[in-house]
């Protein structure tokens, strides 16, 4: 999530493509699209990896459209009930929806960027409690795995966690487990 050059999370978050519309002709670069064309024509649309898109957008060679994980349909769904949206489905398994969103936010101008930030923040808050609740619930079941009740809403939610939330889930679960273990064990023999 952070901007550190060496941050693996940040590199992984960039592993997405966004749709760009070129403003100028670029000769001899048609292979980027994997197509047969030799040159990129102005106004042609192309899926560009995010890491390459930066430079194109900043140097004004291309414009981009808000990628599908953040389009109006998803926004409406998030507004209605953030917990029922499967973020992992939007960015692919192991993807970081928040990380992706943050990069898009930085590419945007003032007002849409603030809007984007609000969506990210609101979604994160709305889902956080459920993430932690479930993590603590699973820690309480013990490491044996316990009874798996499948095919319910909570399972759906867990599968829909993006990598950022997954990390939080693990942190909370580990922490609750440690504390539970401490409460349950006695160090009496060691004293």
């Amino acid at each position: 999530m952070d901007e550190d050059y060496y941050s693996i999370d940040s590199i992984l978050a960039e592993n997405q493509k966004i749709q760009c519309t070129f403003k100028v002709d670029i000769p001899e670069m048609g292979h980027l699209d994997g197509g047969m064309e030799r040159d990129i024509k102005a106004l042609s649309k192309m899926q560009i990896p995010l890491w390459m898109a930066y430079i194109l957008i900043y140097s004004d060679y291309a414009d981009f459209t808000i990628p599908p994980p953040f389009n109006a349909r998803v926004r409406n769904a998030l507004n209605a009930e953030a917990r029922s949206v499967r973020l992992s489905g939007l960015v692919g398994q192991g993807g970081s929806w928040y990380g992706f969103g943050k990069i898009i936010m930085q590419l945007l101008d003032d007002i849409p960027a603030t809007e984007m930030s609000n969506i990210l923040t609101k979604t994160f808050r709305d889902r956080l409690l459920e993430v932690i609740d479930q993590a603590q619930h699973f820690a309480a079941l013990g490491s044996g795995g316990g009874v798996r009740s499948t095919a319910d809403v909570t399972q759906m939610f867990r599968e829909g966690l993006d990598s950022t939330e997954r990390e939080l889930f693990i942190l909370a679960q580990e922490s609750a487990k440690r504390t539970k273990k401490w409460y349950e064990t006695s160090e009496r023999g060691r004293r």
Partner: protein
Amino acid sequence: MALPASIRSSVTPPELELIASEQLVDIIPLIAMDKTAFISGAYGPLRPPAKSRVPLWMATNLKLKKKCHIVPPDWLCVEFLQDRLMRETSQAEFCELPFRFAEVAKVLLDVASDDMQNPDKIRSLLKDLREARQAKSREGLQKLDHSELSLPNFCSLEINEIRPFFVRAMGVLTQVSRTTQE
């Protein structure tokens, strides 16, 4: 990142217990001992049946050798805890408890439950308190923002339990909020 993942995010409960073991408790010694210097300070002399104030680690050690009775602290009794539990469940804030009450209570209940009246009741009250307070910290999570979080009277073990994911969650909020940038 040479540390194992489990202790990278915060200290562990046994470490907190170790820190809490430096706190002083009253004991009624059953043996006599002169004033003795330890690394953390000089304690004693022990003159039965006079009360003496020693660190928790020393008290538990003596207790397990049946060389003292431990006088439980004022707050570790049914009436006090019942009162706190009442307050805890009736008001929105966390009520005031000794900062390391969970650790001290656990150690004392572990080794010196025979020096207390009604240890089982105390255990169940502590458990209820813990649950009531956990429910409140869960509410705190809802109010989380990127810059600050204030939970007065939150105790060391509780802070430690929520630290890893509260910190991470605040980190994420910092990343996605625009107000902090530039």
